[in-house]
């Protein structure tokens, strides 16, 4: 019996650590190593040490890409944060009409693919033949919208990253029960002072935290610069890495060097977050009163409601209409506004042909398989990680936690390159199959899923398990009969999160697909390069409907803590 215990104790953590190492650390090391070689290592060709790859960092294109990245990230973050904070405040603290709907509006963009959204904004505002510009021309307006610009990048990024500040700030505002505010009033503060001295400091960490989170996502975003910037050669660092990899002849070693620069930016952001948020986590404040003070807006209620409706229209309604129109038009050319809404010009033929297009069907199939396997395997594995880290005294659990959170600082493009090189030379023939995409998605979503599962693991009091052990249950029986039933909600919601994230992901699948193993997001991503706009719009529409449908199905498992 004792021997079994010892074996069990060392076997499980060793197995877990090895798996983690292969999934997360090896790909990163591959990219770092490649950045210092003159050819991709372990690929058959000989490679030598060199520093010349870093010359790519000083090329004009890279420098301007870096500057663009910084501008877009700052602008997009500010815009998303401003909108998110206003919505959060309206939903949490005012008497705005239809409050629950404000909440829905705040989180809805979370379930729209950034990729499809960018496609719609290309339809709406890229060039003179874009829908909004046709309308502007017919209205005689002296200006046109141009989404194929840095302002366009900022606008799209800012518009669709609102949910993160919304959720975090909303949660922080909900923590401030009215007794905290009343205490300030009792001690002599007026409304303004209370806001500045109590509310703002408590909410500030949430604001800063969501800003960094958004900035990281914008730095590594690839859909926006590809679809809006591609046609006019406007690049950010992430797309620069992509082009270096994909141009002919490709420059993988230089791409590695640029990817490291990208990682350095992300790393600096995360470091800044830890620095800024140090000792400022107020999430544990628990006001039990739950009574929230609501501010009466008076007639401003309608202005506030107008703001929410405006955001909803611009972020959701307009793009959906554009997608529909784009997908249903028989002829891509539109002469004027009247022609745009001419029902006679609409036809479902193209859309129907898309639904039977083998490429699309294949992509859909691959997407679902990848999402399903990632979801099942990921939930299981990350649950084991969370359990080991929070519920055992196994040595090495700190290392496990550290590695599990590491991908947070790894841009998608870098990860995908690393996974490619890690597996292409391996004797296990995963390259060319959809499994290599799963091997990239697993580390990619590890931090989010691990964090979600950790919080549900920690919610179950340890004594509930101890009681079962004392009753004679084995550790496995305890997990199965007591622990799992108690965390089921959290586990299902993490599984759902993994499924949706996998369906939406673009960056993590780059470089890893072949003609037969494209996932749906990649079909959309590529179709814009070679397809006609009606095809792009049609596929994007399907993709959006698919994501929306799955989100609706899973709505009851969604937690606001996403």
């Amino acid at each position: 019996m004792r021997r079994a215990t010892v074996a069990e104790r060392s076997a499980v953590p060793v197995l877990v650590l090895v798996t983690l190492f292969v999934l997360v650390v090896v790909p990163i090391l591959m990219v770092v190593y490649t950045a210092f070689r003159d050819a991709v290592p372990f690929s058959g060709s000989e490679s030598n040490f060199t520093l010349s790859n870093f010359g790519a960092l000083f090329e004009e294109k890279t420098v301007s890409a870096a500057i663009n990245t910084v501008i877009v990230t700052i602008g997009g973050t500010l815009m998303a944060t401003a909108i998110g904070c206003i919505l959060a405040w309206l939903a949490a603290r005012t008497d705005i009409p239809f409050k629950p709907l404000v909440h829905v509006v705040g989180i809805l963009p979370l379930f729209i693919s950034m990729l499809a959204a960018t496609v719609t904004w290309a339809l709406l505002g890229a060039g003179n033949s874009a829908y909004l510009n046709i309308i502007l021309a017919d209205l005689g307006a002296p200006f046109r919208i141009e989404m194929r610009s840095l302002a366009g990048f900022i606008f799209v990024e800012g518009l669709y990253h609102v949910p993160y500040p919304f959720l975090l700030v909303y949660a922080a505002l909900s923590l401030i029960t009215s007794d905290i505010e009343e205490a300030a009033a009792v001690h002599g503060a007026n409304q303004f002072q209370t806001t500045m001295k109590i509310i703002f400091p408590v909410v500030l960490p949430a604001i800063l935290g969501s800003m960094i989170l958004n900035a990281v996502m914008m730095v590594e975003n690839i859909a926006v610069p590809q679809i809006l910037g591609g046609p006019v050669g406007l690049e950010t660092l992430s797309i620069r890495v992509y082009y270096l990899m994909n141009r002919i002849p490709s420059s993988p070693t230089q791409a590695s060097a640029v990817a490291l620069l990208l990682a350095a930016i992300v790393f600096a952001l995360i470091y800044a977050q830890n620095f800024v948020l140090k000792g400022r986590d107020y999430r544990t404040i628990s006001g039990k009163g739950a009574q929230q003070k609501v501010m009466s807006l008076g007639n401003w209620r309608y202005v506030a409601a107008g703001f929410v409706v405006l955001y909803f229209t611009v972020a959701i309604v307009l793009p959906m209409l554009a997608l529909l129109l784009g997908a249903l038009r028989a002829n891509a050319y539109i002469a004027n506004t009247a022609a745009m809404f001419d029902v006679a010009q609409l036809s479902s033929d193209r859309l129907l042909s898309i639904t039977s297009d083998s490429e699309v069907i294949n992509g859909l199939k691959n997407s679902l398989v990848v999402a399903f396997v990632t979801c099942v395997f990921g939930t299981g594995f990350f649950f084991i990680l969370a359990y080991i880290v929070h519920r055992t005294r196994i040595p090495g659990r700190k290392v496990i936690e550290y590695i599990a959170m590491m991908p947070l600082a790894i841009p998608a493009t870098l990860l995908a390159m690393g996974v490619l090189w890690a597996w292409i030379g391996s004797p296990i023939p995963v390259y060319g199959t959809i499994y290599i995409i799963i091997l990239s998605f697993l580390p990619r979503f590890m931090p989010q899923a691990f964090r979600a599962l950790s919080s549900s693991v920690m919610q179950v009091h340890e004594d509930l398990e101890n009681a079962a052990l004392l009753c004679g249950a084995t550790r496995a029986q305890t997990v199965w009969k007591v622990f799992l039933p108690l965390v089921r909600g959290g586990v299902v919601s993490a599984a759902f999160l993994l499924f949706v994230l996998s369906l939406r992901e673009v960056g993590g699948a780059l470089f890893l697909y072949t003609t037969n193993t494209r996932v749906l997001s990649i079909v959309v991503f590529e179709s814009y390069e070679n397809g006609s706009w009606d095809f792009v719009a049609g596929v994007s529409l399907l993709y959006t409907v698919l994501l929306g449908g799955i989100t609706l199905l899973g709505l009851k498992w969604l937690r606001p803590s996403l």
């Binding site: 004792r2 215990t5 009091h461 101890n466 009681a467």
Partner: protein, 374 residues
């Protein structure tokens, strides 16, 4: 029909538990005979829970031997460590640890299902135990819809039904209100003696300790200071620290002056006052203290014209609280001591500010070292 359990003794030798470099338990020796109840009494953080978790097997000790019924379940030298689920130890947690996704019956049946007993026997034993703890009518209730006291009973039933070799209680009553606590305490003691289960009970409430225990072990900073039956420990603590836990509220530092036929003269520090005691101090270290229980003082109004007996403090009442069966006075003596007194006869007319005198018999004054010699 109540089955008496084959009780097992507990023997702990040299138990030591470190968390990193912090030593939570410093070589504890404890013995609990079969069917008896040991109470671990001590201040917060002294290692009571840690000791208990070591017995249960939830924590692996750094050193030492733990035997249940003469069989080692842990021995650091012989590398024995029976896993928690094979020890047959029951435990009632402070948080109850009732599984919220199961009904009362399912909670209580769990240990029997783990033993893979036939369904008929499981049902029979669960029904019996629920009747004993008075929860029959709640058998199909979800566990979360119960009150605190009812949850505590479920936790107790769940432990009793498995007929454990030993039963551990970690402050099981501390989350309950005072009346329910008294009630459950009596019930618990009754069940424990009726089933003849060897038990360890953790508390930092001295009256709970005195009323429940066959044996009390007073712990402080990871060590057992004294282990004795309640009467002995109450009447004869070996050190002032133990006396403090056991209800000697008045503890004065000082020095022994002289031993005489009619007692020992003890001079209180920083005052001219001298107390007489008939008990010579036992060996120990850390200085000597005079320890007096608050109920051993006789309090009365002080009138300057009356003669003052020896062993009498004179002072002024600073607070008086009527507690029902007794009145609690706090008096500041003219010689500088703050003295707590429980007066359990008819309340006196002694409002704060009135002069009072306090007498204590020499036999009620214990002279004790801070730490006993062993």
């Amino acid at each position: 029909m109540v089955r008496v359990i084959d009780a097992m003794s507990i023997r702990i030798k040299g138990l030591k538990k470190k968390f990193g470099s912090f030593v939570a338990v410093h070589g504890v020796d404890i013995e609990v005979p079969e069917g008896k109840m040991l109470v671990l009494l001590g201040p917060s953080g002294c290692g009571k829970t840690t000791t208990m978790r070591c017995i249960a097997g939830l924590e692996a000790p750094t050193e030492g031997i733990i035997e249940l019924g003469g069989q080692p379940v842990f021995d650091s030298q012989r590398r024995i460590n029976v896993p928690v689920n094979h020890r047959n130890v029951g435990m009632v947690f402070q948080s109850y640890a009732i599984w919220p996704h199961m009904t009362v019956t399912e909670n209580v049946a769990f240990p029997l299902k783990m033993q893979k007993l036939p369904t008929a026997e499981v049902e029979e034993r669960v029904a019996e135990i629920l009747r004993i703890v008075g929860l029959e009518q709640f058998r199909d209730r979800g566990a979360t819809s119960l009150s605190g006291g009812q949850m505590q009973r479920v936790a107790l039933a769940r432990s009793l039904v498995m007929r454990p070799a030993v039963l551990l209680f970690d402050e099981p009553l501390s989350n309950l209100d005072a009346r329910l606590r008294d009630h459950l305490r009596v019930e618990l003691r009754e069940l424990q003696t009726r089933f003849n289960i060897t038990s360890v009970f953790v508390t930092h409430d001295q009256s709970e300790a005195l009323s429940l225990a066959d044996q009390i072990a007073v712990m402080n900073t990871g060590r057992v200071l004294q282990a004795d039956d309640p009467v002995t420990i109450y009447q004869n603590p070996h050190s002032s620290v133990v006396a403090d836990f056991i209800g000697y509220r008045n503890i004065f530092p000082g020095a022994v002056r002289q031993g005489g036929d009619d007692g020992i003269l003890f001079a209180l520090d920083e005052s001219s006052f001298e107390l007489t005691s008939v008990h010579p101090p036992p060996p120990g270290e850390g200085g000597i203290f005079a320890c007096v229980r608050p109920e051993d003082f006789e309090i009365e109004a002080h009138r300057p014209d009356q003669p003052v007996k020896p062993n009498t403090f004179i002072g002024e009442v600073t607070s008086a609280s009527f507690m029902g069966s007794y009145t609690q006075y706090r008096v500041r003596s003219t010689t500088g001591q703050v003295i707590d007194v429980f007066h359990n006869r008819a309340p006196l007319d002694l409002p704060p500010g009135s002069p009072a005198r306090l007498h204590v018999a020499p036999k009620s004054v214990l002279l004790l070292p801070m730490r006993s010699a062993s």
